[in-house]
């Protein structure tokens, strides 16, 4: 690494990513375990690992190239491969880095340090309501550490080391900033992921991080509670250099703010670099022409930049106007959805949030004119919305947050009706179905005021624990009791991979004995973690 003190090359950048991916492979399970809920749910470690995996594949695709080109490749791969909220944030960091290194063959330590600061800026920008105590707090610490080290004129390896140290300090503070973490006695999982990522980068440069490191042996974990929306992408990444301009950065930002997102305006002495994601690149250029002369115009359709990789089941092939893309965790659920008319089932869900790329690929491989996406999980809605931003009117989303809602929406679908009518009908059904699930608490946890011991069976709705019991049957019965309303007529139970059919049938019969006037249907779901997904209508 001594020879890299002065310059960081494209090759160094690739080594950082590849090594970091390896490091993340080792650590992601631990990051997953930092979960305040007793149910595996949108695992942060896995989401970041898979996002990083996409980046690693992206930078491996070219054998050489400057650091600018590689960082751009990394950013594009991250955007397409981003999974879950933490993955989306990580992808924004890569975008910022690419922004900082754009066009460079190689970069000085200080340039790379600054690029990482850009990354943090982008991550902040990505979240419309940044919450402190999350990955963003850690990112900010990292940026500060990097900033100090850059000013001291250190080599990049040392800049990274100081950045990690500063990040660790902030990571330790996350429980004080976010009460939910404190209650569970953990640090933020996304923040931890970021530290792991940088540590891997450092190792990729031949360095080794030996500084202070927080070791949380607690088995409890932090959930990414960012409920805030990430800035979504408009399809055209538009960049332009405006020379000889006499307008302020603030004014440019104000004027451009309504026609796109991810807006970055960087001003020099008498020039300005504008970067925006927009659906209307022509309008951006037209506006910029008034401010000065245009140079280095670049418009990319980000939908073109993904790489092929997926587990998609394509089913019906007859041409039809509208195709449905549904996400399922478990073969049983996938089969049911297919049978119910889903044309494409993307495997994923609870702990495997499929990336944007899978949806794009599904659309591009399918032969439908229009697509309706059923995310069937709250952690997948963001990715679905990103797909819609990229593909526009071809894609509509029925924002299903669980499997019962997804199936209820499928029931309402009529391929002979217009897409708008269908989306309306399907969305209308979502609140007509009551959903819950029964699972086993995989670790001790505090949920709201309730202490849930590992090994107990619990009934959950939207990650909230409503009931618990010593065995599955008790939890199931309590759950049905809690959810059942007088107008309900039918309970559908989808049993998971961890139950045999006979066990599931026996447990369902007990529910039937207790609620004799309710119709009970049992289906193999094959989903991981959840012994039963409960749907009441």
């Amino acid at each position: 690494m001594q020879e890299t003190i002065g310059w960081v090359t494209g090759n160094d950048f690739r080594n950082m990513i590849l090594r970091s991916y390896q490091t993340f492979k080792r650590e992601h399970e631990y990051i997953n375990s930092l979960n305040v809920f007793p149910v595996p749910d949108g695992d942060t470690g896995t989401n970041m690992l898979l996002t990083l995996g996409a980046v690693a594949r992206g930078v491996s695709a070219v054998s050489d190239g400057g650091i600018g080109q590689l960082s751009k490749l990394a950013a594009d791969s991250a955007i397409m491969g981003a999974r879950g909220n933490s993955g989306v944030i990580l992808s924004q960091i890569f975008r910022g880095i690419a922004r900082g290194l754009g066009g460079k063959e190689r970069a000085t330590s200080s340039e790379v340090g600054k690029a990482f600061q850009y990354g943090v800026l982008y991550a902040y920008r990505a979240v419309s309501k940044p919450v402190e105590g999350t990955i963003l707090t850690v990112a900010k610490g990292i940026a500060k550490g990097a900033h100090r080290a850059v000013r001291e004129g250190l080599a990049f390896v040392d800049i990274l080391t100081q950045a990690i140290e500063a990040g660790e300090v902030e990571l330790k503070k996350t429980p004080d900033l976010l009460p939910i973490l404190k209650a569970a006695g953990v640090v933020d999982a996304g923040g931890k992921g970021l530290i792991v990522f940088l540590t891997g980068c450092l190792e990729g440069l031949g360095g080794e991080y030996t500084g202070p490191k927080e070791d949380f042996t607690s088995t409890l974990k932090a959930v990414t509670t960012e409920e805030s929306k990430v800035d979504l992408l408009h399809p055209y990444c538009t960049e332009v250099l405006v020379k000889g301009c006499n307008i302020s950065v603030g004014e440019v930002k104000r004027q451009l703010s309504n026609i796109g997102d991810s807006l970055v305006v960087a001003a020099g002495s008498n020039f300005m670099k504008i970067h925006i994601h927009t659906a209307q690149p022509g309008i951006v250029l037209e506006m910029a022409r008034i401010w000065g002369s245009l140079h280095d115009i670049k418009i990319d359709n980000m939908a073109d930049q993904h790489h092929h990789r997926l587990e998609i089941q394509e089913t019906f092939q007859e041409p039809s106007n509208i195709k449905i893309i549904s996400v399922a965790a478990g073969q049983g659920l996938a089969d049911i959805m297919t049978e119910m008319g889903a044309n494409i089932v993307i495997m994923g869900g609870q702990t495997m949030n499929p990336p944007v790329e899978d949806f794009i690929e599904a659309v591009q491989q399918g032969n439908g004119e229009k697509y309706i996406i059923l995310p069937n999980n709250k952690n997948i809605i963001l990715a679905a919305e990103q797909v819609k931003k990229m593909l526009g009117d071809r894609v509509e989303i029925v924002p299903t947050v669980n499997v019962p809602q997804g199936l209820a929406a499928l029931v309402a679908f009529d391929p002979e009706l217009e897409i708008d009518i269908n989306v309306n009908r399907m969305t209308h059904r979502l609140d007509q179905v009551t959903a819950g699930a029964v699972t086993k608490a995989v670790r001790d946890s505090m949920v709201e005021d309730r202490k849930v011991a590992a090994g107990k069976f619990i009934g959950v709705v939207d990650s909230r624990v409503l009931v618990d019991g010593e065995d599955i049957g008790t939890a199931l019965l309590k759950m049905v009791q809690t959810l059942l309303q007088p107008e309900h007529e039918m309970i559908s139970l989808y049993y998971g991979a961890n139950l045999k059919e006979t066990e599931a049938q026996e447990l369902a019969e007990k529910v039937g004995e207790t609620f004799s006037d309710i119709e009970i249907q049992v289906y193999p779901g094959g989903q991981p973690y959840y012994h039963f997904i409960i749907s009441i209508e």
Binding site: I336, A412, E487, Y523
Partner: protein, 279 residues
């Protein structure tokens, strides 16, 4: 002296009283077949139909009246110089209307008028009654046919089935509707569109299905009558009738008799509603 005679097929299930009251009313039977056994529709009740089908483990099938059955009734009447209006079950459900047209053309296309009711059961009965009354009032046959067609346009038919199996196996539903799954219990809400069975909506429970049909009925505020019939589903049928009477206190609720031919295509537990807007 020439008269107007009305011929109606057995899907109407016109009552014995009506047949006795109008000497110019005639019926022809569809046939119901299970395995190698065949019945004229009126000789097999729906209860017997399903019992036999279960026992023989065969899906029931139906066939339109033999042309000979139409000819046997129509030829002597035409030879005597009478006009005939044949009222058939919806052409979307049965080939009866085609058979009747073929017979009409072979005998006397000018004298025999074939009217596709676009519906079944009570809907056909009401059309038949109107035809008989207009004939009795001395109206011309073409005027009557025109009036009947207006009436048919104002008639809407809704159907709830427990399962699509019977419709599917009987070939009465196809295309997209047949595609949707049977893996989850689905209750299709059906209606007749241009006489054909079409899916109005799909829900998962019976009450939702009933609510959905009532919503649809209420799109028509001024009704001449509401007919309701069912196969082996008396309790629900009565409940729906009561709800409809509440919604339409001044409209007659008529019982709709459903014969074994319709039963064979709709299955046990079906409920049918036929309404006619005031014209």
């Amino acid at each position: 002296m020439s008269e107007i005679h009305i011929v109606v097929d057995s899907c109407a299930q016109v009552s014995r009283e009506m047949i006795e009251m109008y000497p110019n009313l005639h019926t022809v039977s569809l046939k119901v077949r299970i395995g190698d056994k065949e019945w004229a529709e009126e000789n097999l009740s729906t209860a017997e139909l399903f019992a036999n089908a279960k026992e023989m483990k065969r899906h029931p099938q139906t066939s339109q009246p033999a042309p000979g059955d139409f000819i046997a009734i129509c030829k002597p009447l035409v030879d005597e110089g009478n006009d005939i209006i044949i009222i058939t079950v919806s052409g979307g459900l049965s080939g009866t209307v085609q058979g009747a047209r073929t017979v009409a053309n072979s005998l006397d296309g000018k004298r025999i008028h074939v009217v596709d009711s676009g519906t079944a059961s009570i809907g056909m009965v009401q059309v038949t009654k109107a035809a008989l009354e207009m004939a009795a009032a001395g109206m011309k046959v073409l005027e009557i046919v025109t009036k009947l067609e207006a009436m048919i346009k104002a008639t809407h038919t809704f159907i709830l089935v427990d399962t699509l199996e019977y419709l599917y196996k009987g070939g009465r539903i196809g295309g997209a509707a047949a595609l949707f799954g049977t893996i989850l219990q689905i209750r299709p809400v059906l209606h007749l569109v241009e006489g054909k069975v079409a899916v109005l909506d799909k829900v998962r429970t019976k009450q939702r299905a009933i609510t959905r049909i009532l919503e649809e009925v209420q799109k028509y505020p001024n009704l001449e009558y509401i007919g309701i019939g069912m196969v082996e589903a008396p309790a629900e049928g009565e409940k729906i009738a009561a709800r409809l009477q509440e919604l339409y206190p001044n409209t007659s609720i008529l019982p709709a008799a459903i014969g074994s031919a319709l039963g064979a295509h709709l299955g046990e537990g079906m409920i049918g509603i036929v309404i006619q807007e005031k014209i």
